[in-house]
């Protein structure tokens, strides 16, 4: 035993000595490499299939090319297309029967990562593959609006739309290389998502795939034949770190140059600011994730909009913003973020005013009870339930504040939380919440919220719970305007219609807007051109990144 112990000790000391002399230089990152930390490992890199995790878009963005891109000011720029089609120039045409034709000229300099030209044929094939009923494409929302894509010459494509769609000047889908995927598709369209392509894609962007060390990192390298502006750093590495505390430690220890989608919190960003002595820059941008509380409009108390207004006046969202988010996450008054083209800053706002709340509740027929809780006309206490995802620390803090503030006006709030899978699998989908539910919608710069506010989108047992109008909001004028916006091609006119919807909506207040969740990111101070957009994928311009 003693001999064994002695040997073990000698071995341990030897290992320790080797480790001690091993230069810490193994972690030194060359100036030609950017290490991006991700909060999750992508499942696969195959746009359009199986999962579309945010982290996948982070990795795919620098690898893929597209017709049109969107920059950090949400302005459109041309990538593979030579110009943005417009009605004025005639490359976006309206045809009889509410049909459209949209034509793009392609740059001839773009290559797939195996050297083949990117051309019209790839668009024709990608659409055909996506429209095949047997391919497991996730969403055919846009594909179904397109009848066909024509290729009059190898670098020109014409999409034939079967209805008016205001975003026909953007990429309708992610482009895939026909020459790589066609054989698998021809063998069996049902198994196209099982192609090895998803783990080692051939794409057409500034960076090409190099290696994927499962569970560890994905490495991309600059693609020298890229048709657009060439990448300035040679190597882009994505490391997966699931725990945000551990990610914070990594950033402080200098083991990451930037972040993309992660679970970092504002406190952790402050910690990074404090502990890195200005070596790292932290970015907090209002994103597209709209935190809000839905009222159940079928509830007999909440049906009365004076009650909904009263609850809004009783909650001090400004002070929540200051205390919980250090003022960096401003209060939202509508559902479109400030960068959305149709954002309406002049909607009715509900400032913190408990006196006004009490007055509105009195008008609605509530009278104070002996215990300080209001009673309705039938003498029942005004006791309501709020549900949200359990384990989400921020939402739970917000709930506690709301509970306290509603008590001040005589409303007793009961907190009843569920895991995210239950909340979204049953509670919101089947509208199984008695009064209030707090969660978020993730939108896009092109979202109109039609599926969320149109009365035809209320999920019921009869329609097999289809639709996302969780509050059960009904307003005929809103329905009409939402339908009008779908067919309005002029962005200015469309914005005007959508602004009107927001006015009506804010007056009805089917949901209480809280905040636009901040997109939090960190980058090295000396990493230039790192410009997060607030719409995910801060890697959108990774080719411009440089030290």
């Amino acid at each position: 035993m003693a001999v064994l112990l002695r040997r073990a000790a000698v071995a341990a000391v030897t290992v320790a000595m080797v480790l001690a002399v091993w230069p810490s230089g193994v972690q030194a990152q060359g100036r030609n490499r950017v290490v991006v930390l991700l909060g999750q490992e992508p499942a696969e890199l195959f746009p359009g299939f199986v999962s579309n995790l945010a982290v996948e878009t982070d990795v795919e963005s620098p690898m893929w090319c597209g017709l049109i891109g969107r920059d950090n000011n949400w302005k459109l720029y041309t990538d593979l297309a030579t110009k943005l089609p417009t009605l004025k120039d005639g490359d976006w045409q309206l045809l009889p029967g509410r049909k459209m034709k949209v034509t793009f000229k392609l740059k001839t300099t773009y290559r797939w990562h195996d050297g083949r030209n990117v051309g019209a044929e790839d668009f024709v094939w990608t659409l055909r593959m996506r429209k095949n009923p047997n391919t497991p494409v996730v969403s055919r929302f846009v594909d179904n609006k397109i009848d066909n894509v024509l290729a009059p010459d190898p670098y020109t494509i014409s999409f034939q739309w079967n209805e008016i769609y205001p975003y026909a000047n953007l990429d309708p889908f992610s482009l895939l290389p026909a020459h790589v995927l066609r054989p698998q598709f021809n063998r069996d369209p049902r198994t196209i998502d099982k192609s090895p392509f998803g783990r080692a894609p051939v794409a057409c962007g500034a960076f090409k795939f190099k290696q994927w060390s499962a569970g560890n990192f994905i490495e991309l390298e600059a693609f020298d034949q890229y048709g657009g502006p060439k990448a300035k750093v040679r190597n882009l590495t994505f490391r997966f770190i699931l725990d945000s505390t551990v990610m914070t430690a990594n950033l402080i220890a200098g083991e990451g140059d930037a972040t993309a989608t992660s679970n970092l919190s504002l406190e952790q960003l402050a910690e990074i600011d404090r502990r890195t002595g200005g070596r790292m820059t932290t970015h907090a941008i209002e994103g597209l994730t709209w935190e809000h509380i839905d009222y159940n409009m079928d509830n007999e108390w909440l049906k009365d909009r004076r009650v909904r207004w009263a609850i809004a006046h009783a909650i001090d969202r400004e002070s929540m913003s200051r205390t919980l988010f250090a003022g960096r996450q401003p209060v939202a008054h509508t559902y479109f973020g400030p960068k959305h083209f149709a954002h309406n800053a002049n909607v009715k706002k509900y400032a913190y005013d408990p006196a006004r709340a009490r007055q509105l509740l009195a008008e609605a027929g509530f009278t104070p009870g002996a215990d300080g809780i209001l009673r309705d006309g039938q003498g029942r206490p005004f006791r309501i339930t709020i549900m949200t995802t359990s384990g989400n620390a921020v939402r739970e803090q917000v709930q506690q504040i709301i509970k306290d503030q509603l008590k001040q006006v005589g409303i007793d709030l009961i907190i009843d939380n569920r895991p995210a899978s239950v909340l979204f699998g049953q509670v919101t989908r089947e509208r199984r919440y008695p009064h209030l539910v707090m969660y978020a919608w993730v939108s896009a710069p092109t979202t109109h919220f039609r599926t969320i506010w149109h009365s035809g989108e209320i999920p019921t047992a009869a329609n097999n719970y289809v639709g996302q109008n969780t509050p059960g909001y009904r307003n005929a004028e809103v329905d009409r305007l939402l339908e009008q916006a779908e067919g309005e091609l002029d962005e200015g006119k469309r914005a005007a219609v959508l602004k009107k919807v927001q006015e009506l909506w804010a007056e009805d207040l089917p949901s209480l807007p809280l905040f636009f969740r901040l997109e939090l990111n960190v980058s090295r101070k000396d990493l230039k051109n790192y410009l997060p957009r607030g719409i995910g994928a801060p890697t959108w311009n990774a080719e411009a990144w440089t030290y």
């Binding site: 112990l5 480790l19 699931l242 725990d243 220890a253 899978s421 239950v422 979204f424 699998g425």
Partner: protein
């Protein structure tokens, strides 16, 4: 002995069958299947898309049909296809198993050698300062959750004193061959220490109490009274007998270490089976989760069987009928 083994193997198969039903049911009844989750965040998903995807992933079949389909594929030696990783589960497990074994071997070695040595020493010097210190430390070790210890170690040894990497398995850009091996060892140090020290505490406690029990036995007193030197008494008579229950612990602690590996791997982003299970459960990837859970179940059952057999081998007083 052989009859005993045969009986235990049959029992194990029954237990395994029951476990697989239980695990499958629990996974399937977790609300929010992958398609529903997708629908809750993606406003572009239309009812037809949802129906089509549900059919494609076989989510419309009744639970028992899905279970028997799964049993059939597993019986054919195929663990199924991972929906989220888009590759066969067998390949995923192959990639990850080695990484977990590296971590487990190191952690086990640390836990057992240091734990048993400290335990024995502390039993032989009962009520000494060392004994008190070892007892205190092992209680702290038992009480400290692995995830917290992991974060603490990262804070101390990767942030404050940057000796080791704060997670991961390989430094991007480190070439193949010897540098890669050393780089991997360097990444292994912290997770191994955390996982090892989590198990070490119980080794200290067990070996200490086992040794204390043995040195009070009559035969130890006899050995001492017949004039044997103290060294020989402790080594030949006490230690050997004290090790019997510890050998059982060796096999029985396999499940606990595997549990700890799930947490340690997640904290240190160590791409092993534990991290795979964690991600599969979060991502509702039932094929992967079932495969890893099945692996854990088999490992636990085998470890228990091994404990019984070893017990009989090292202690002639125990015979199985």
């Amino acid at each position: 002995m052989y009859r005993f083994l045969a009986r235990r193997l049959v029992q194990s198969l029954v237990v395994l069958g029951g476990l697989s039903v239980l695990m499958f049911t629990l996974l399937v009844f977790t609300p929010g299947d992958p398609v529903e989750i997708e629908a809750s965040v993606n406003p572009d998903l239309e009812p037809e898309d949802i129906a089509r995807l549900r059919a494609y992933y076989g989510l419309d079949d009744p639970v028992y049909v899905r279970y028997f389909k799964w049993v059939r594929t597993v019986a054919n030696g195929d663990l199924g296809y991972s929906r989220t990783y888009a590759q066969p589960v067998t390949r995923l497990i192959k990639q990850r198993l080695g990484n977990t074994l590296q971590l487990l071997t190191g952690a086990f070695a640390i836990a057992v050698t240091i734990g048993v040595a400290v335990g024995i020493y502390s039993a032989l010097h009962q009520y000494s300062v060392t004994d008190y210190a070892a007892t205190l430390l092992s209680f702290v070790g038992l009480a400290m959750p692995t995830f917290w210890q992991g974060i603490l170690f990262i804070l101390i040894f990767a942030v404050w004193i940057p000796w080791f990497p704060a997670g991961g398995m390989l430094t991007p850009g480190v070439g193949p061959g010897l540098p890669a091996v050393i780089d991997r060892l360097w990444h292994l140090v912290l997770p191994t220490l955390v996982l090892g020290s989590a198990g070490m505490a119980s080794w200290v406690r067990y070996s200490r109490s086992s040794m204390l029990e043995v040195i009070r036995q009559d035969y130890v007193r006899t050995a001492r009274s017949k004039g044997l030197p103290e060294r020989s008494v402790t080594r030949r008579h006490a230690l050997r007998n004290a090790l019997i229950p510890i050998i059982t612990l060796f096999a029985l602690s396999v499940p606990a270490v595997l549990d700890g590996a799930v947490v340690t791997e997640t904290i240190f982003s160590w791409p092993g089976m534990g991290l795979l299970l964690f991600q599969a459960v979060l991502g509702h990837d039932h094929a992967v989760a079932m495969a890893v859970l099945l692996f854990l179940a088999v490992a636990t059952i085998l470890a228990n069987l091994l404990a019984d057999v070893m017990y009989a081998l090292v202690d002639p007083r125990i015979r199985y009928e």
